[in-house]
Symmetry: C2
Subunit: 419 residues, 2 copies
């Protein structure tokens, strides 16, 4: 039997060594690796599909839920999307080595910052094989080494993708150990991975709340957490009714299962009677269940009772909690109490209310007159994202290449010494 601790120590040591090489790698080398991986993924489409078919057969035998089977499935089209994603990351600007904020000090030295890789990034995710390629690409471009641990149901698919990644790294003259996919399904591997600060600099768990909470609890290294998205839209008493309707509709119904979908609607008392029945009618027309406060239920006959728990809920379903509030102040207080600090939007034409909402709402994205559905690395122009952080420390909101790097101070002198 495999000694998991020894195995993980070996992975960690190799990752640390590879991270030194990756930190030195030129932009051209990293891009060559990404393009070679994309090429390998295309060339090996058949073997990727075969590995995935074996995973799917085992999953069906184990009676995996349809939604999980769906996420596990790779099609030829999904593989082409994976290859294109790798090429897209190759086109992103290299963040590493970027020098900013150089200022001359009275002593004569010039002080500024240089962007550097974090080192070794551990990523723990569920049975979604495409994450293997996406995560590898982002870590590689940011000059990091990566240790990937995907869901056990996707093991064969992930190993097949890992072979493509190694082929691409080799072709570019970079260490194959720059991206390692853990080959054991033993849960203890995760416990070791998150507790090796000498080898791992940060852990990014991607998946359900249970996984993320477990990782955060056991971790001995920093974790970039992506917890749930209980997002709010607040319709202010100065809202443009057309914008309010359009934004609430889009934020709730464009997709139900995403973390930036609105789960609660707050509306100012002064405009509730005018606007809420119309908004509710549109939502109900699309099959959305309304759970409302007492005032909401007076205005919307079909609304069910919202319990205290509803204000906390991330439904990921055609349900919305609705509350009538006095004003922007009460809306902010409600959000800061119940929200998961992911994304919140105000609809208003009032400048002061907009500024106050922006300043006082303590969430990773705060919006004025735009749909919460925009909270996304691609929409924000990051090119790609490794997750959406609901932490405040280090990286907040969509995390792209910059979130996978840090900055060191640099000093350029001409022989200066301290007096």
């Amino acid at each position: 039997m495999m000694d998991v601790k020894e195995y993980m120590t070996g992975i960690g040591r190799a990752a640390r060594a590879a991270s030194r090489e990756m930190a030195k790698a030129s932009t051209a080398e990293k891009n060559a690796a990404l393009l070679a991986i994309a090429q390998a993924v295309r060339t090996r489409t058949e073997s990727l599909l075969a590995a995935n078919a074996a995973d799917l057969a085992a999953a069906q035998e184990d009676g995996l839920a349809a939604a999980m089977i769906d996420r596990l499935t790779l099609s030829a089209k999904a593989i082409e999307t994976m290859a294109q994603g790798l090429e897209q990351v190759a086109r992103l600007a290299d963040p590493v080595g970027e020098i900013t904020d150089m200022k001359r000090r009275p002593t004569g030295i010039q002080v500024g910052k240089m962007r550097v890789p974090l080192g070794v990034v551990g990523i723990i995710y569920e049975a979604r094989p495409n994450v293997t390629a996406d995560a590898a690409a982002l870590c590689l471009k940011a000059g990091n080494a990566a240790v990937l641990r995907g869901g056990k149901e996707a093991m064969r698919s992930n190993q097949a993708i890992a072979a493509c990644v190694r082929e691409g790294l080799r072709a570019a003259g970079l260490p194959e150990t720059a991206v390692q996919v853990i080959e054991t399904t033993d849960r203890a591997a995760v416990s070791h991975l998150v507790a090796m600060p000498e080898y791992v600099d940060v852990i990014v768990p991607r998946g359900g709340k249970g996984l993320i909470e477990r990782v955060a609890r056991d971790a001995r290294v920093p974790v970039i957490k992506h917890l749930d998205g209980n997002c709010h839209v607040y319709v202010d008493d100065s809202a443009d009714p057309a914008k309010a309707l359009r934004i609430v509709d889009n934020a709730k119904t464009q997709r139900y299962g995403t973390c930036n979908t609105a789960e609660s609607l707050l509306i100012a008392r002064d405009v509730a009677a005018d606007q809420l029945p119309g908004i509710a009618a549109v939502l109900i027309g699309k099959g959305v269940e309304i759970r409302g406060c007492a005032e909401t239920r007076q205005l919307v006959a079909q609304a069910k009772v919202a319990t205290e728990q509803d204000w906390y809920e991330e439904y990921l379903a055609p349900i919305i909690a609705v509350k009538v509030v006095a004003n922007v102040g009460e809306a902010i207080a409600h959000i800061n109490k119940y929200s998961s600090a992911h994304t919140e939007a105000i609809v208003t034409e009032n400048y002061s209310n907009a500024m106050r909402f922006l300043r006082e709402v303590d969430s990773s994205s705060v919006m004025v007159n735009a749909s919460t559905r925009f909270a996304d690395g691609f929409e924000y122009g990051l090119g790609a994202e490794i997750g959406i952080s609901t932490d405040k420390f280090h990286a907040r909101g969509p995390v792209g290449l910059e979130g996978l790097t840090s900055q060191k101070w640099i000093v350029l002198g001409n022989g200066e010494v301290r007096a």
Copy 2:
């Protein structure tokens, strides 16, 4: 007997509530509080001195070491310096609410970032009462609430300073609980403080390596660590000899006990015979002990043998480890293996070696032709610092107001929805 857990939960809850108020506080309110605290410190100089005298008497009775007594001692001059420090932080630009990087996206929305407080900052430090005022000032200006736990030997002094802080906060109409000084000497208080993620957003331990490692081990919240400073100067084969001598001398001898003092000297083989004897003579003339590799000992008769452990050592004393290396590549490899990743300097006139050193040395500050002694928040222009982070995550190197804040994403729209 006091229930420490209940006490700390109360502290945490009050800090979280105060952090909401502090996040909303205007620059004028925060500056008014800082100036009022400075005033209170000056007005109460006599009672601060009396409290400190009581601490000192107890410390002497307990047989505290002279160096610790020295750090514990407050003089009228030290109290005036404390007041001036508070006024200096009041003059720093307020980081909170600063909007940067706004870009218009193809969808029409504008996306950027707004700087926000971290929330609640816990600071654990040894018996240096001036840290109480400095740390409170930085946390307050950055819009955070602070929970301070100083060394038990300084308890009376810290409580006296805390009274001034409360007076200043009250005068400015800010919550007195925005800065709380823990009143129990029970060690369990620290264990609770670092394990309340619901109330504390980050812990900054300041003090010895033992304290910091203990905090990092027990913490359930992010920690900004300031571990040791094993700083290097590398004299390249293209170094200007006059700059090399001046920088090594200053980096080693200007102060022996600071974390940015050089503890190791690396010198390129091609120039060692020419330059090392002269450099060594100056150091030895100031009473510095040289511990060298074999080649060093051939060139410097008085040099003692450097053991493997010497390359890891932070002496904080008039001792320096010296090694002759082949070139910049060997210097970088040595530093990345043995350094504590604090601060390293190269002395060179060669552009490519300078650039390579800047890029490849994995430390929080990397310098060309300047003394390591410049690695300091004041020298870098931060105005003040809460510590020097040897972590890569979130904040690296000197941590000022910016390190005590985070950024949220903001989106300014005009009714845009996602297609």
